[in-house]
Amino acid sequence: MKKSKWTIIDTVIVVAAAAVLAAAGVIFGPSLMEPSTNETITFTVMIQDREKGIAAAMSEGDNVTLSLTEKDGGVIKSVRTEPTVVMVYDSIDGVYRNEVNDEREDIYIEIEADCKVTDKSITTGDTDIKVGADIPVRGKGYATNGYIIDIVD
């Protein structure tokens, strides 16, 4: 059998593979080594200024998807609505005030999800659970998005 020779290309391939492994270690290493716990977290999503009746499609116990990749999900614990409040400007008096718009509603959904909790983040799958974060909520027969306004951990 002919003895194989070590060539320059073999060296280049080994160096390139080592560089890829090193880069992967730098990118993924900290997240893999960080201590974390798995907890069930309840958070509230506010869906603003919607047509009346959309909330009727949502029910307690619905399984909902919380990301666009259909991986991350939770369960609806409660749904409530309030008339939409709009900030308007009174140009006569030069003041801003809140006005109730009875024809539209804000929807508040309480969702429970299994999350990974670290010192830096709360995530369900790849979705960050943070107050102020925009989050899609998709269930059977409805799809919308809102903002996380409260987290109970």
Binding site: I9, V85, V95, Y96
Partner: protein
């Protein structure tokens, strides 16, 4: 080049092309990530900067007041820590129908002055955090903690003495 397509009888032109391509990629990465800001770094420092978060609702105020570590946008790198949050009414300038300028309170909206202490580097050109965020007065930055994600404008930056 010999009759087998190898230069000096050892390496083919294709192999040489591959090597040149890999070297070019490595050089390109070095140029990309070793920017003028980091190559001109003079010292590691701790900064205290204040971010004005304007016109947010009470739930954002509550989440900011929980404090904690600030991170990069992927919630992986620790950048600093919120040390203080001052809350006041949010105001907006407007013009009345008769041409007066009024500063009016925005109902149910608040302005927060968030003080953050963070480690970074000082260069000849300015101050940067560990995720290369530039600390400059007037710059809009994200504040990301375990509980909140919001945006504000830097209104002051100071270097803390050791």
């Amino acid at each position: 080049m010999d009759k087998n397509g190898k230069i000096a009888g050892k390496i083919s032109i294709i192999d040489l092309g591959v090597i040149i391509l890999i070297i070019a990629a490595v050089v390109g990465l070095c140029i990309r990530f070793m920017s003028s800001t980091t190559t001109a770094v003079t010292s590691d420092e701790t900064f205290r900067y204040v971010v004005k978060v304007n016109s947010v609702r009470e739930f954002t105020v509550n989440a900011l007041q929980k404090g904690g570590i600030t991170t990069d946008k992927n919630s992986e790198m620790t950048l600093g820590e919120i040390t203080d949050v001052q809350v006041g009414d949010a105001k907006m300038q407007s013009t009345t129908a008769d041409g007066r300028i009024e500063w009016s309170n925005l109902p149910d909206r608040y302005t927060c002055m968030v003080t953050i202490e963070a480690d970074g580097r000082e260069s000849e050109d300015g101050y940067i955090l560990d995720d290369t965020t530039e600390l400059s007065v007037g710059r809009t930055v994200d504040i990301i903690t375990k509980y909140v994600k919001t945006t504000g404008e830097i209104i002051s930056v100071e270097v803390l003495e050791d």
